[in-house]
Assembly symmetry: D2
Homo-oligomer: 354 residues x 4
């Protein structure tokens, strides 16, 4: 007798697709990567070397992969623009779905996936907010729940990428939904996770182009600060940047009435410190995957477990829509230079506040 | 022959007054504390023990002290409400003045002191922004000037006090000008220092009362976040709190196009770490004086030096007005829930931005 | 076509055996755990739940497991007392061997395994010094090789366990070879790795029983410091303890003529810091597996790769004998209260040095 | 009425002499530096500028200074070779004495000062072990006394200087007493302070010349490790170095049965961290005075207070002899390559231990 394993296919074999494929192939014991798809010949070439020899069937066409004999689940790691469409097709084909964030940069499109999933309550459909699977964020959340900091009241969180000198992110900006949707979406999701399901009262934002003025043509910025007020008397503020010199700096502080939790206030690549002529130095993670690699593995394992065992998903699908909604509002506040208000039902309040 | 020393008097002998008096008495070799004044009998009682035996003449009345034979300078550490009046009187009496921050919580009153000082260009009149005298802030400023971080573009700074369980700060709030004027004024001053004389385009703010709802009757909050845009494409954001559990946490980050400077990202009371049953711990400074004591001594010494030698003051008086102006605007943005705009001449722009 | 995988069996299913078995089962993609053996019914019960369902054949008897059809390699994680015997049997049965440290607490017995391996040069036989597989130690080693610290001259290293309040380690002491052989063996191996193959000139040691006087009956201590001189003008010093209150503290410093590398000078369980009423605190790893889990996975993967691809093993087998030799000498120096000298051929010099 | 101040003279105006003179002149309110002496014309030239204008009388000759009208105390900061002689003369002249460490590199000569002081019990005679006045060491000592770490059992301490590329310390080695007497003396004194008055059972040591082989002609080394056993079942181990690349690294750990105190495990020049292209870096203190400047000021103040008020000195004079005794024994162990034993009365045990 052999234990049952989750037969899964991977859609998209770009940077994140490769990682998801290998995580399901090599680091998720209860899953079996049986298929992978990509329209890109270069990506398929890679897959012929790294996936095919281990029994993974390759497809040029996502729809064909969905028909793979015995396929039970898909992980969607293709371009953001097709996330939602592929997710809906998979749901309609009765597959469990793990979808890379964001489902879509559009609130409406994101919601359409939630709607599709609602019709198939037996399916596990999850959007991958990797930080929820990180052991440090989890330890912090657990400490908060144990009462260690009293009532969490203020949250500061930043997602700051190392500067990519190729400026790739300028072209990328036309698809990304903007820095608040692309980067701060994690911080927004964390806020709801730590604060519970509180209601947004207003958002304000400001941003600059310190290194890439070209971002403005896509209504984007390379550094931005956002400020969110909640109706229950809490505030969160976010900083996103694509300009860090030293490496990835994703830091979160949850400040409560009796204490504070800091996650990654001292970023580091590893446990080495070099004492040299100019002092003591340490290296930082080069990108988010250096920082969160283990979280992605945990995500794959827990998604697999939920599919096989039928338990609760660790992240509710609707959370993804909620985060995009606030991210998009912050981006709008940034571009229009206006403070945006919501009523307690979440509807925009358009009255002038002079 | 004996070197000349600056004969100085101290106005006010409350918490900060005692410290200034002792700093000039004991830790400022080129100064000689010759007089001190306070209308408060308890404070004078203290002075009889700690100042009088060392040759300091005590006065109940500030005006009398100003007439002390040979007095050349005063340090004003009385209640904020009388700072400006006492400063102007001293200027008119031809004394150098070191005035505790803020000169006033009112922009107009602050400006009146600047105006008085302008008429006596030979006098040294300074508002004590203690952080400018802190060796870590100075080291950071020097590194910035050397080009270590490229162009400084984003500044994050926080002034966070340990929770005072007596709630003293609620009563104090009616005089303090609000949390942005009382606490963030340091962060605002640091921003101008690090960014140069840039022009404010807008301010936004949000605040809560997590521990002291009573603050709302004074239009104040116990936690607040402020966001400031500048016309030259920079942003600064501030966090002020009166609720820290662990101690004083004043942290500043200056983020540039090629690097970042962090000041006090790892706050600590001293160099001790305790490895015990629940992990590793260290203590934090209990208040701002624990953190900045040496900076106050340096301030006293450098003010003394400028008075005796006639050199440049390390902090220009007008900076104090500038910082109060932005602090008051942030406080207004907090209370009115509006974003406030300025034109490039610093005038308010009152047009609705719908 | 499916890629070839290394068919491996696991000897021993105690604490480390379970971990090795699961690492080869779940986290070593190129290996296939096909068999496991243990004489212990409780351990086999565990294996029926955690290994058998995934196709692992269980054996009560090690010799039987060695005859498992198609078995190519074994990982030996049984009691130290049978490591050597099992390793030699495996070598004689033409299996590759990954043996937990130490091969034996006896230098002679350890050497006998090396001798057996020498007769089968086609086999991969490795003793698992887990720290050599840790990414931080590797990053440090690479930096050293790049010249970052000049000539490495002094090495400080400690292996300090959290206090086990059950006192299990007292009974264990009669088999462990003593604290220098059981704990410091890692530090000794690291020294040879960082210093290269230098020759020991003398060893000195001192130890105490601060918490478990019962250790003395087994010639052991709960805290010990050792000092090793090398003929090429370098020194290493070690601290081992079983008494840490806060958690595992394995720290290494490599001090060179132009710099220093510190590994784990700031131990931490994760990236969380708690700011509470008594200051800032963080947790430490509870034991060596919390600290080195990923290194054990890397060890399994690299051993597997070397067996399949025929490349060099990352740790040479003879290194294990060398480390035991110095560990045993330090233990002797501790017990006899004598400094022990070696000549340049590694022979003991028994002349009194009065 | 003016409060009484301690009229003190400073013997020696070299590097430490200048600092002591200025500390008593400017930063010790209850003291009045009235005199200073140096046989060195360059040092006197400095004093004419920095001391004389403030009323300090200068002397070429120490004996003449001792006769200065009204002189009550002396601080001896001359060359180590004359410390003892000058201290004895001062005692005979009925002056309080603060003597820089060490009193002498010879145990016998050090003892002669203690003997002289014993005859004048009314005088305050202290050897300046600066670390006892450091606020972090004091906080650690207080925590230990409160029981925070159970029974202190193992102490690790290091005094490591930044490499002086001029090699000055080679010439200095002929007078310094060797690296254990010159550097580790602080660590030895701290050990007795933290462990109480425990009796030494044995000392072992090893050292190398990694950067300055010329030290061997003076029986000295540039890096050395020492190991001390106490009769009550404790151990201490020390590391001293003159080769640090990054700066001064004086670190102490006191390890108890229930916890550990670490002092300066994270050395830093100030609170600034620079995030740049190669990671995060901070600077270290350049030398011991950068690290301990405030401790020297506290030392001056507390010595002054004890002289004026007649209270207990914070450091007992005999402690200085005790520390030199162990430092000299470690240096002998280093040079002779022998382990050295003491009986419980502190007498050397010369029997061979084969």
């Amino acid at each position: 007798m052999t234990a049952q394993r989750l037969k899964i296919g991977c859609a998209g074999l770009g940077r994140m697709g490769k990682r998801h494929a290998l995580n399901f192939l090599e680091r998720t014991p209860r899953a079996e990567l049986v298929a992978a798809s990509s329209p890109d010949p270069v990506e398929l070439e890679w897959a012929k070397i790294h996936l095919e020899p281990f029994g993974v069937r390759l497809y040029q066409n996502y729809d064909d992969m969905l028909k793979h004999e015995g396929l039970v689940a898909v992980v969607i790691a293709s371009a953001t623009a097709v996330h939602a469409e592929q997710a809906i097709k998979a749901i309609e084909a009765d597959k469990h779905v793990l979808c890379e964030k964001p489902i879509s940069t559009s609130v409406e499109v994101s919601q359409s996936v939630v709607n599709a999933a609602t019709l198939k309550p037996n399916l596990k459909v999850m959007c991958g907010f990797s930080r929820r699977f990180d052991k440090s964020y989890r330890a912090a959340h657990k400490k908060m729940q144990s009462g260690a900091i009293g009532t969490p009241s203020v949250l500061r969180s930043q997602t700051c990428d190392k500067l990519d000198p190729t400026g790739f992110f300028v072209a990328y900006a036309q698809y990304s939904g903007g820095i608040f949707v692309d980067c701060s979406i994690h911080d927004i999701d964390l806020t709801f996770w730590f604060f519970g399901n509180c209601k947004v009262k207003s958002v304000s934002a400001a941003g600059i182009t310190a290194v890439e003025p070209g971002l403005r043509q896509h209504n984007d910025r390379d550094n931005a600060v956002g400020l969110v007020e909640f109706y229950d008397g809490r505030i969160a503020y976010f900083y996103a940047s694509r300009m860090m010199a030293a490496g990835q700096e994703d830091v979160t502080e949850i400040i409560g009435t009796k204490g504070k939790l800091a996650v990654n206030a001292r970023p580091a690549m590893n446990l080495v410190q070099v004492f040299g002529g100019s002092g003591v130095s340490r290296e930082l993670p080069g990108d988010y995957y250096d920082r969160f690699e283990e979280a992605f593995v945990t995500e794959a394992r827990e998604f697999t477990g939920a599919c096989l065992d039928g338990g609760e998903l660790p992240v509710v699908l609707g959370d993804a829509v909620r985060a995009v909604r606030i991210g998009a509002a912050l981006q709008e506040a940034l571009v229009t230079e206006r403070k945006i208000f919501f009523d307690e039902e979440g509807e925009r309040v358009e009255v002038a506040r002079l």
